[in-house]
Amino acid sequence: MSEPFRIAGTKGRPMRFVFDGIAYQGRAGDTLASALLANGVHLVGRSYKYHRPRGILSAGAEEPNALVAVTRGPGRMTPNLRATQVELFDGLTASSQNCWPSLAFDAGAINDLAGKFFSAGFYYKTFMGPKAAGSALWTKVFEPIVRQAAGLGARTTEPDPDRYAQFHAHCDVLICGAGPAGIAAALAAGQSGKDVILCDEQAELGGSLLHEATAGIDGKPARDWLAGALAELRSFANVRLMPRTQAFGYYAQNFVALSERVADHLPEMPEGARERLWQVRAKEVVIATGAIERPLVFPGNDRPGVMLAEAARLYLNRHGVKVGSRVVIVTAHDSAYRVALDLAAAGTTVAAIVDTRANPPAARLEEARNAGLRVVTSGTVIGTRGRLRVSSVGIAVVTGGVVGQPEWLACDAVLMSGGWTPSVHLYSQSRGKVVWSEDRQMFLPGVSVQAERSAGACKGTFALSEILKEGYRAGEEASGTARHRDFSVSGDSGTEGGMMGRLPRPAGGKGKAFVDFQNDVKADDIDLAVQEGMRSIEHVKRYTTTGMATDQGKTSNLNALAVAADRLGKSIPQVGLTTFRQPYTPVTFGAFAGANRGDLFDPVRQTPIHSWAAENGAAFEDVGIWKRAWYFPRAGEDMHKAVLRECRQARATAGIFDASTLGKIEVVGPDAAAFMEKLYTNPWAKLEPGRCRYGLMLNEAGFVIDDGVIARMADDRFHVTTTTGGAPRVLHHMEDYLQTEFPELKVWLTSTTEQWAVIAVQGPKAREIIAPLVNGIDLSKDAMPHMSIREGMVCGVPARVMRVSFTGEPGFEINVPADYGRSVWEAVWAEGRKFDAVAYGTEAMHVMRAEKGYIIIGQETDGTVTPDDLGLNWAIGKAKKDFVGKRSLIRPDMVVEGRKQLVGLLTENPATVLEEGAQITAGATPATGTRALGHVTSSYESPALGRSIALALVADGRKRMGETLYVPMPGGAIAVKIVAPVFVDPKGDRINE
């Protein structure tokens, strides 16, 4: 465990970790990438398409190649993590991806040899097979192969045991990125006293200052200055520092989403959340997200050991890791010179600096000369060699556009820099439009459309002194202060240069020059896409898949653009820039879900009587978010038997039913009746206090949306009931009309659904059961007829007792304050037992109401059904001039012949129970494509009739009484007779008892 590439004397507690089954040593503070490099391991993964060996390209979030899976126990395998972001801990276990049987020998690499046939978009051109086979060849043969070969990471198979938390925060200033610009901004904003959040994706705050070994700030080495600045920031109570926190999405109105890694770097999972999702509403935002170094595009630029130059400097200065012992630097930008100098000073051999520029700044050349380094100007790279690691690089000089003879330099690392791409992602997400700077050859933030400003490298500012100044100014501006602070910087290096697209290549030059490493997109693929007519970057991107890998093109987008622009002979902005979408880096699904899992996924509504039902063995059904008692099975009973028993007993003596879920709305005010006239089809003005009426509600389009029994309590007060699921919708609908269409009406609406527990007692013995419990109400038939309401006391509790029925039996519904619901229920139950009354659930309720022909909203209706369709024209106040939906009822197609109407169905064989939703046709053997006459809406075995019954909507149904129609089923058609939809007590003798 010698860490052969670690510089002697590097601090940090040794840690052990395992990669692909081999144990290594790393140090505290390492990433998996730096620890692997310390051990001389460059080969980390295989590419997506060609399965080419790939190494570590970068040192940050932009990494396209070094993707690993980290496993830490059951359910805790995370695929597709970037080794450059995985923090080392003692015992870390990681493995490579997308290779078989092993990373060093990957059978999929055969694709690499056949690469010429796998050009961009090849799959659109083939795999179609003979026409006669239809899509079968693709579906059965090729697609499974493609799917198995694709898919980078291993799949997860077990539920993730970890927890995720969500936080909301408001702040005055949110600073995204804690490099020099962000730190300076935080210093300014912190001093203002405003609430400041400074977040950064890395474990340590400081960005590039963390590996800055040359420059000094305010007379101190940069890293010492950083330590002081962080100490200052920590001393501000108003500044929250958030390391390991990525600002990943910028939404409307300065709403920024952050993802915080809490636990992945710890050897043991702590109590609490693995990650936190922050939703921050910031008054002002400072974007200080830095810049990303661009790779150069040359053949073999993907070989392990070929890296971004600044990454090598970071590994050296921050982790004490040399990425190689003999390196070649290829650059188009000044910044790689400091890489060369730092590496050389640390004892790495720098075989050459190959500068693509003809005339690099003299100062750079002098620095190199002073360090004894060879510089090749007007240089290019024609290829690299080495199987699993680069062993040499072919360089050449370009003269007058002609590439000269190659010189092969032995090396174990090639460090490249095409210059720097400002990270404008967050700015772009804020809906700002990036602007192309022709002289600087980069996209920069344009006009701010939200309260934000960019500072530092993400705005194209690269000199450290300027970055600090700009960052500080941004912090001042965002916090509304002006304190001015100067930063004196020494040892700042050059900021000139940069290129995009291919390096010059010899005529007929070959080899794969990659633009998008992870998706294996070559410069040739982009050429081909353009050749085939893909002229916008959106087309090129989609055709070649460049920029669509898990790194979202952070290192590839600009090179792809440049290659395409070059091929098209257009400028870069003419080819376009793809918009940046959230998230900036991938965010765990679990973090979005947060605590909304299991029982907390959706609230559960329970009635006050729920616990009694549960104790008495009820099965429950989900109705919206309500739990309703479905049936009450006794020992040995299945649902079928239980429901038959409940129905029979309810009609024999009585049944007791928890109707508390019914929506209840109190409509109060001098204009209450006038309001009800508008909102329901029925007439209300003349309904006497103490009486109830079945109310029908339409939407403005004339379709039935709700119904319920409505009681008039007083001239100015209605007790409205609604369907269980419809309650919120109905109240919203009422409020809408009251507030916006009829504001002149003096009416107040109050939801009382949860204020009243409702106990329905139905059956011939209902009156006898409740009588002993009721005080102050004359329950007699004459004093309290069907459809009436009385106020009084039940079990000593103030109650509204309604004489209503949803079964066809005489019945009462006792409304008591919810807190008394269970105790009153138990008292009713005790009385009921004297008559062998049953508790029944929603299924028996459904059966009994169907026997009586009562509709259920959502079952007999589906949003396309009118009152007339349901035979409910009697519920329409004919004399009313207007009500919601009235006008629509006379539209041509609402009164046309052939509309589907509610009817009853009796099967020829009384034992046959139709399936709900089954279609109805005129013929027994309808041809395919026959238009159905209607469908079965409700269907049950009826205990009262001793046979099956059904309700249905059938075209012109009321004209078809007595006709035989058919319900075609897979096993043959079922003959049904059309009958009236009321099966039990059509005259209503029982109900009025």
Binding site: N80, R147, F255, R431, F589, D622, V623
Partner: protein
């Protein structure tokens, strides 16, 4: 050049030098026999079938951006036809039949993959609604079958069917011919096909006005590239339809909403079908590339912003993690939005307008992708002949006057 394994092989040997452009980049002519506004999948399909089946070659498709750059390239690629009403069954099944032969029709592998679309039932109301669909579809000759929860699990082992979860799966309907297709390839395939038949596809050519003659009939369009004369315009502009139609003075029964989608990082195959749940508001499939492709309902308010709110994505992933607990540790790679135009009954409008010569095909809402071939096919017929065929006829705009709505949303009405 015909696309085939042989041509890929031969071109591979030659360094892929000879592949021609898949479509031209023509400048607009002074006039066309007909102009289609909008080069998405529907518009390109319309032009293709107008040229192929109606012999109209002097036609153009105008696109303000890049072809296929709108909803065609932004959807979750689901194809199915198991709708409830006969009218919907007609158009979506028509599309499905075209999907089945589309790769060969276009000589372009659109990767139509009938891997099965499964819709989950979580309560008794769902069961009633989906069974009604199954029966209606069977009568119409459209495959759709009912599965128990256990059968659903067998079809999609990733699914959680435990009974003690908040919204347990109690059954599912399955259309086996349903599945996915490669969205970009559909636009490109139709574009290449239409182009080869002589259709001018003119990109970066925003329509800025619609000109009418003294009689009120269409006489041409104003565009970013100047005036182009025509007597017939077919507008196929999805979320932007209201804006285009306003240029001809026609108001539409439409509202435009953001519809979001998201994908995970790619992983090896986890599921081989499409699963949808209306009750918990989410759907998911896995692309051939390995990304889990996830979507939900529209955002709550009208917008043209193509962004949408974070809380919509958040709620969608809540639901996905409940249905598929094994995906909780995967990560969201991309989240984006499209703009869908929604009609009051959630069914499309395919028809004539009060303006002679102006036709419109819009209002596909969240169902546009799956309908692409069928929509283009019947709209081509309408624009070419001036009258809708039997499949398109029910989708007239007049239904909002008469009340003959085709309400698929109501058909899946919320529980009582």
């Amino acid at each position: 050049m015909k696309f085939s394994a042989l041509s890929v092989f031969m071109q591979g040997l030659k360094g892929n030098r000879d592949w021609p452009a898949q479509w031209r980049m023509p400048e607009p002519k002074a006039s066309y026999d007909a102009i289609i506004v909008g080069a998405g999948g529907h518009g390109l399909a319309t032009a293709y079938y107008m040229a192929k089946e109606h012999g109209l070659r002097n036609i153009a498709v105008l696109e303000k951006g890049w072809l296929g750059g709108g909803n065609t390239g932004r959807n979750t690629t689901i194809v199915r036809s198991n709708y409830l009403w006969e009218e919907s069954e007609g158009i979506y099944e028509h599309a499905m039949k075209l999907w089945e032969g589309l790769s060969h029709e276009l000589n372009y592998n659109v990767m139509y993959s009938p891997r099965g679309v499964m819709m989950l039932a979580h309560n008794l109301h769902d069961v009633q609604v989906f069974k009604r669909h199954v029966h209606a579809n069977r009568l119409a000759g459209i495959d759709n079958e009912w599965l128990s929860a256990e059968q659903a699990k067998e079809f999609c082992p990733l699914l959680n069917i435990e009974r003690n979860i908040r919204h347990p799966v109690i059954g599912a309907s399955l259309q086996r011919r349903g599945g996915t297709a490669r969205h970009d390839a559909v636009a490109w395939g139709y574009a290449r096909g239409a182009d080869r038949l002589g259709v001018d596809i003119i990109q970066n050519c925003e329509v800025t006005g619609i000109r009418r003659d003294a009689s009120g009939a269409i006489s041409g369009v104003e565009t970013a590239k100047g005036f182009i004369a025509t007597r017939r315009i077919g507008v196929v502009a999805a979320g932007h339809t209201s804006v285009i139609m306003a240029m001809a003075g026609v108001r539409m029964p439409l509202e435009s909403y953001p519809l979001q989608a998201l994908v995970s990082e790619p992983v090896k195959p986890m599921m081989s079908c499409v699963v949808m749940s209306n009750t918990v508001h989410a759907y998911m499939s896995q692309s051939d590339k390995g990304e889990l492709v996830i979507g939900a309902g529209t955002d709550a308010y009208t917008s043209y912003s193509q962004t949408g709110g974070l809380h919509i994505a958040t709620h969608t992933l809540d639901a996905i993690c409940e249905l598929f607990p094994a995906v909780r540790r995967l990560r969201m790679l991309r989240n984006w939005g499209g703009i869908v135009d929604v009609t009051p009954d959630r069914s499309p409008i395919i028809g004539k307008t009060p303006v002679p010569g102006l036709f419109v095909n819009c209002g596909w809402g969240t169902g546009g992708f799956k309908a692409t071939p069928g929509s283009g096919h019947v709209f081509a017929d309408l624009v070419a002949r001036g009258e809708p065929n039997a499949i398109a006829a029910p989708f007239t705009m007049d239904r909002f006057r008469t009340g003959r709505l085709i309400d698929e949303a109501a058909a899946a009405a919320v529980a009582h």
